[in-house]
């Protein structure tokens, strides 16, 4: 018998007592009312992300900026540094830029989370990972209150990255310290609808 069949047979015989099916209660909360922009801002700042209300503010001082191929032209209006468009660039090239600018798929206010699913303006996963600074644009209508509201807005089988603040660790005495392997600076630009 191959391993697959052997494991499935073991599991089936382990369930010989036929445990009864039970309903799954889903009476937990799904929505959150109130000022979601304010809540998101509060949660982002709590986890040491920087929050801006205009892209220009966030890009000030950045010399080389990586962007996905479909970056909206108006995002770069007034940006005077060098722009590097991602066209299957090598990891070494990604490591040379100062920052990367992308959009996102959804933001979750209650947890201060930005989710990328490889959709428009987001690029592939490596471009938001290797550069040391990530500037991410969130449009107000992309903000939801809670986690259950976010999932239906995402493409389940595309690669997803959920980001809650800059790279951090709790490994030393269980205190959160920012800045390990991922981008050490996270700038979030919240644009009004």
């Amino acid at each position: 018998m191959n391993a697959r069949d052997a494991i499935l047979a073991r599991l089936r015989s382990a369930l010989a007592d036929e445990p009864a099916a039970e309903p799954i209660p889903r009476d937990y909360g799904r929505h959150l009312d109130g000022d979601l922009v304010e809540l998101l801002t509060d949660r982002l700042v709590d986890y040491k992300a920087r929050v801006h209300r205009s892209i220009g503010d966030a890009l000030a001082g950045i010399q080389t900026l990586l962007v996905p191929h479909d970056v909206p032209g108006d995002w770069l209006t007034g940006y005077t540094g060098k722009t590097v468009v991602d066209e299957r660039r090598s990891v070494e090239e990604l490591d040379q830029v100062d920052a990367v600018l992308t959009g996102c798929a959804v933001a979750i206010a209650q947890t201060g989370t930005i989710v990328l699913d490889g959709g428009p303006t987001q690029g592939r996963r490596a471009i938001t990972l290797v550069p040391d600074r990530h500037v991410v644009v969130v449009r107000a209508e992309q903000i939801v209150g809670r986690v259950p509201e976010a999932l239906p807005r995402l493409a389940p089988t595309r690669p997803q990255t959920w980001i809650s603040g800059p790279s951090a660790t709790s490994d030393i005495e269980l205190n959160r310290v920012e800045g390990v392997h991922g981008p050490r600076t996270l700038d979030v630009v919240i644009l009004d609808a």
């Binding site: 391993a3 599991l11 799954i24 209660p25 937990y28 909360g29 997803q160 959920w162 005495e173």
Partner: protein, 467 residues
Amino acid sequence: MTDFPAAAKVQLAKPQLRANLRHATHTIRDKRLRVVGELDDWEQLREAGRAIKADVRRRLPELLIQFEEKATAAGAVVHWARDAAEANRIVADLARAKGVDELVKVKSMATQEIGLNEALEAEGITAYETDLAELIVQLAHDTPSHILVPAIHYNRTEIRDIFVKEMHDAPAGLTDEPATLAEAARLHLRKRFLSATLGVSGANFAIADTGTLVVLESEGNGRMCLTLPETLISVVGVEKLLPSYTDLEVFLQLLPRSSTGERMNPYTTMWTGVTPGDGPSEVHIVLLDNGRANVLADPVGRQALACIRCSACLNVCPVYERTGGHAYGSVYPGPIGAILAPQLSPGEHESLPYASSLCGACYEACPVKINIPEVLIHLRQRTKHPAGERAAMGLMAWVMRNPRRYAAALRSARLGTGPLAAFVHKGPGGRRVLRRAPWPASKWTVSRDAPLPATETFREWWIRERS
């Protein structure tokens, strides 16, 4: 293997260890309580989490087949491993076929359980741990002592010393500031990440209806290992399945708040097979049994398979707080280890179900409501008790089956303990207790007081007063 009482004694004699553990577990307890308190539907989420995991167990074979089908259709190669040796063989053969002699790893309990690093080492392949705590443990030539934070037993000064001694590229003048230590780890691993061709991971969740794997992490080392290498191998315990993508709405709330006490962990990565132009071009998944079918076969014990490895039960456990993880002698320490380890490998770790005061703090903290005390008692009943204890219990049962025998036994017990009057103390509530009894009762009194029979039973009092 050393049993828990002996190993615990060794650990308890280390004051620095106890101070480190006390500090760390109390920090995380407070954080967890704060973020859990922010959600007014926490109990509903726990109940949903418990019920989803019960459903997974009940439908495990069909969900695994569904997962395999979906992941394969998305371009992943699914392997099955009956035990540790088979899983290690699969990973080593894949690494060989790629011609690599080193790989980067993101922290995973499953690969630790099967001893993957050691198995690869024997084949001349070096596995580099990239999680900060795993790195500390690897540099210190030590073993992990906690599910989530394997280096919880070290404080910042000790970590600094390990870096200075063992990390060849440690920055000069390294201080014990946690931010500086994190920076040193970043520099140490960066080149390795950017040039790695093979990554190995576990998974927090495997989604049956999409074939998706999910990894939660903090540092970005996970994203590095899961995104940059050309080939990715993930070793996943069969119990990690969730029926549906939608179920993540429950678990992505339960897990971060229970484990690191954060509203959300910094990074979560989800991938489904291969996505051309984004991430690894070759994705392997090793579905691992390694004793899980044994656990599933026990109607009481099987609930341990609901565990999502958050480690909240370790952090609240009064026993773990004092002994640390090494005393358990198992990859899975703490309360969950005490019920999981003896079930995963029957005949081993038999002392672990006794490594608990049955206070129930673990059950209360568990985000998927595993009734750990219930399983502990169940497993205690299953293990073979010492001959003396069995004889005593048999005699006791015989005495207590008959009221005359019972009354007579109480009378003689009172007479028999009379000469011990000199040793009698007043215990809690004014009860008469014995602090130190002669052998063989000394085995009991070495760690607890022995209550003495009352000077008069209720029946005797009733007859004297009312008849």
